[in-house]
């Protein structure tokens, strides 16, 4: 069964959401997805994800929240 963990970074000051995301990825099982919620595209995070072998896709909700879905590439 594929699960999903959520980090809601919308009330956090950068780079706290990125720190929590990178820490959560350390224990993310293969096949499981991490969902990061923010009010902006975390462009610097994308480079770090690619560097560490993670794939991501993102989309913006109507309320402006950006959903970033991350899992092992």
């Amino acid at each position: 069964m594929v699960g999903e963990r959520i980090i809601d970074g919308r009330g956090m000051v950068p780079p706290e959401p990125m720190e929590l995301t990178l820490a959560a990825l350390d224990t993310l099982p293969d096949g499981e997805e991490l969902l990061l919620l923010l009010y902006c595209e975390p462009r610097p995070l994308y480079g770090l994800l690619a560097q560490n072998g993670y794939a991501h896709h993102s989309h913006t909700r109507p309320d402006g929240t950006v959903e970033v879905h991350i899992k092992k590439a």
Binding site: G11, V13, P14, D26, R43, Y46, G47, L48, N52, G64
Partner: protein, 437 residues
Amino acid sequence: MQPGLSFEQAPPISVPFRFFLTAPVFGIAAGLLLLWQGPEALISRWTSTALALTHLLAVGFMLQAMCGALLQMLPVAAGANIWQPRRVTHLTHAGLTIGTLLLVAGFLDGQPLLFQIAVPFMTVSLGAFALIVLIALFRTPAQGPTIIALRIAVFGLIVTISLGATLAATFGWQLALPLIELTHVHAAWGLGGWGLLLLAGVAYLVVPMFQLTPPYPVWLTRSFSVALFFLLTAWSITWLPLERPAGVQAALACAAALLVVIFPAVTLRLQGQRRRKITEPTLLFWRVAMICFIAAVLVVIAQQLIAAVDAYDGLPFLLGALLMVGVFMPVISGMLYKIVPFLNWLHLQRIGKPGLVVPNMRQMIAEPRMMMQFRLHLAALVLLLGATLWTPLVYPGGLALIASCVWLEWNLIVGARNFARFSRELETRLAAEQAAA
């Protein structure tokens, strides 16, 4: 990966750092010039001292820090990749540093040769920077109000550079051009078309992000930069020697002033609505800047409507102190205290690997150090504003400005040294882990 979002294409950390570490040195030079010339600096905006002082702050401090931040911010935050970032960095940094020295020496010494060297040197280096950044901003897949504001801002920089080069050429080659008219338009595009629009474009992104405020209202972000561009253009045309109805120039100046005052008013309101009521140095720097911004706009409106205000001798120094020491220097200082620790953290992440804990952003520059610089800068601002009423205050004002810039420089050096120390520690830990494995 999405196109144009590669962190790998971001320039090395030394790129922005060299700009950031150079900027306060020109702030110190401005303070020293104030001490050297004393009340002479306040007589008129047209004296060699006033022109040198203006360019030490506007080009030496402000433009230096702005270019460094933009070169780093464009690839990382806006997905706009700069062509040949290392070469552009060397050229721009040299253009700004040597160019400011040549300009200031030219103003103080009056030697046409200094302007004859400064004009081609600064036009090529800064012009190339502006064009390359503008192309990157048009090629990025990213969209939104920040990108639109930045495009117009960089166009404003090109106008400012062109007019500045023309003005400097009149000193270098004794050309007969309308100096006063050109200077008004040059200053308006430099502070409004470039400085303010860059500030607004960056604010749309960083104020909600770092100060946890609600986003800027869409009606503002959609129309502000475009409306200011058209008003500035129309106002600039009124300086041409053409027939026009009386009062058009003052009316356009008042309209532009009323438009721009919306930005600091909305920013202050958003800061009042922030989700975490934490008072930290960057917030305080921004608040002071927005209050000074509103004060400067009120002065400009009074200048247009009341003849006695327009005739007041201290007015140019008052406006210069409000806008440069009161608005742009605090905003830049506040932003540097976010940018430098964030860049440190980000570049340390690149060295590390999953599971290897990177030092926290707060460990890069201690907050009490930033607060100390805030207090020094506030003292400089109050004293320099006071100097428009009682000129001897220019001496303690100049001293406080030097102290503020020395403190800022030292804080940035601490940030750079901490980056070097933490990267050495990370590399050692990484090597030890690899050896153990």
